[in-house]
């Protein structure tokens, strides 16, 4: 398949764009592979790509229940950042940030990565002190962070309510200028196409019904498109983790599934130039290249496997948005939707060998998995290929809870709805 390039665009323009080839094949599943990856979302596809690219394992199948990239990779609010407090998270997410910077070239697919900055807004002195502490922790680990004054925030976000009489007047902020957004669908498609070009079979509409076992050893999967065997089976199914693990005989996981909603407005002239978060509640927002304002807030707060939420959270998120931007009160909402988050007990992800022999597990991204897509794939591929964790993913094992090494960035404790 030809490389995408400006020359291709020009050439195809002259013959009516009729020569574009399908971006990836639709292969029939073979009876066996070296590795099966369960889950064709962002993380599953990037894992397949790095297995083939970095570790030379090309006899790989990705089995997906529906179509590729229809889950959380196409439902998130696109924010990319590494502004964490704890070193475990900082090292891992900064690895991801480095990978984002070259991703479009790496995949030969424009993921529209735009480093427009991520700004956390503070509304009182104590909050700004806390942000300064986190900013210092970031800088100590080589991540850029700038403390913003009230005036800086006003300059970065024209249209924001800067009045002294706001419910929570703006006090300052913490900016990570290297943060930004990427076009989420392009990330899924880019990884899918790049993995396919290296020989990975992407098998859609193949739901895993059961894991085939030899004793405790996982040796394959029985899917709606037949049995597929492999000595290594990797599970990468985000919100469906508990249910898929039940099919392997594991009943309890340190995970609860929760629904998170997101919203997008009609297109407006550019008014929001960064990704930003509101510190008086829980709200994050950015403006897409099409002009829509894309935003979201808290998870609904109860166990849910429905990809839709309830109205109280909609009302909360809207009221927060209008508090910050009174001028947007009459803007119309185009769409709202929900996705299922695999919320862990400490808010940090799980990338691990096991828990059964022959099995590998990548889950627990809470609602921050999109920004981790490249690093998650690389570290998971490393675990699968070498049977040991990548140097940046050592802390994210499943047994960290029983060993007392939870990575609780916000110090919330084992209550998933608070992470």
């Amino acid at each position: 398949m030809a490389e995408y390039s400006a020359w291709q665009v020009i050439k195809n323009a002259f013959n009516g764009n009729t020569d574009w080839k399908q971006a990836w094949r639709k292969p029939e599943p073979k009876s066996s592979y070296d590795v099966i990856i369960v889950g064709g979302g962002g993380h599953g596809l990037s894992t397949a790509y790095y297995l083939a690219k970095e570790f030379g394992i090309r006899n790989v199948a990705v089995v997906e229940k529906g179509s590729l990239g229809q889950g959380n990779v196409g439902r998130n609010t696109q924010a990319i950042r590494s502004n964490y407090l704890l070193p475990e998270n900082q090292h891992f997410y900064e690895l991801c940030m480095d990978m984002w910077e070259g991703l479009s070239q790496e995949l030969n697919y424009n993921v529209m990565f735009s480093q427009r900055g991520v700004l956390n807004i503070a509304h009182h002195p104590a909050q700004l002190d806390q942000f300064a502490r986190r900013g210092n922790a970031m800088r100590l680990n080589g991540i850029d962070a700038d403390l913003y004054s009230r005036a800086d925030v006003g300059k970065a976000l024209p249209g924001i309510d800067m009045s002294e009489h706001a419910r929570f007047p703006i006090y300052g902020g913490l900016m990570q200028k290297s943060g930004g957004v990427a076009r989420h669908d392009a990330v899924a498609w880019g990884y899918a196409r790049a993995a396919d070009r290296l020989g990975v079979d992407l098998i859609e509409n193949a739901e895993v019904l059961e894991f085939i076992k030899d004793g405790d050893q996982i040796i394959g999967v029985r899917t709606t498109r037949g049995e597929i065997r492999a000595p290594k089976v990797a599970v990468c199914v985000a919100g469906s983790t508990s249910e898929v693990m039940r099919r392997a005989g594991i009943d309890r996981m340190p995970i609860e599934s929760h629904v998170l909603q997101a919203f997008v407005t009609e297109s407006l002239k550019p008014i929001i130039h960064t990704v930003a978060t509101y510190g008086g509640g829980h709200l994050y927002f950015s403006q897409t290249d099409k002009g829509s304002i894309l935003f979201g807030g808290d998870i609904d707060g109860y166990n849910s496997w429905a990809q839709r939420g309830n109205l109280p959270v909609v009302e909360d998120v809207m009221s927060e948005m209008v508090t910050l931007f009174p001028g947007l009160a009459r803007v119309r909402l185009l769409r709202s939707w929900g996705g299922i988050m695999d919320m862990t007990m400490d808010g940090a992800p799980i990338i691990t060998t096991g828990p059964l022999p022959g099995m590998y597990l990548n889950c627990g991204w809470c609602y921050g998995g999109f920004k981790a897509t490249p690093g998650s794939g690389l570290c998971f591929a490393h675990a699968i290929a070498k049977d040991e964790p990548h140097s940046k993913a050592i802390p994210f094992t499943l047994d960290r809870f029983s060993r007392g090494y939870a990575i609780d960035d916000k110090g919330q404790g084992p209550t998933p709805k608070w992470h």
């Binding site: 508990s242 249910e243 009943d251 309890r252 996981m253 340190p254 995970i255 609860e256 599934s257 707060g301 109860y302 166990n303 849910s304 496997w305 429905a306 309830n310 109280p312 009302e315 007990m345 809870f401 029983s402 084992p414 209550t415 998933p416 709805k417």
Partner: protein, 100 residues
């Protein structure tokens, strides 16, 4: 979602707060078995389908409830006072705590 509170009648979900799976059994407080405590604190069944769970009507009568709800459709089947519920764990916890 609306929950039918036994004291207050059918009320919007915004009046309630959620406290998770009601089928977990708190270990004996005297137990020093770390595996049992780890399992209780960190692991969840995370049911897909009908699920018994704790809610508190904290913007109403403040009663703790056990609600049976479908986690896929969000349909609510029943809501009863937690202290009167037939679901075992709370009672087990209380008896065990009382004995120790």
């Amino acid at each position: 979602m609306r929950i039918n509170c036994p004291h207050c009648g059918l009320r919007d979900v915004a009046e309630f707060s959620y406290a998770g799976d009601a089928n977990r059994t708190r270990p004996d407080p005297n137990s020093t078995d770390m595996d049992v405590w780890n399992d209780y604190i960190f692991n969840r069944v995370n049911t897909r389908g009908r699920h018994h769970e704790f809610w508190q009507h904290n913007h109403g009568c403040r009663a703790h409830l056990i609600v049976e709800r479908d986690s896929v459709t969000h349909e609510i089947f029943s809501a009863e006072l937690a202290k009167k519920s037939a679901i075992a764990p709370i009672k087990t916890a209380k008896t065990k705590a009382a004995k120790s």
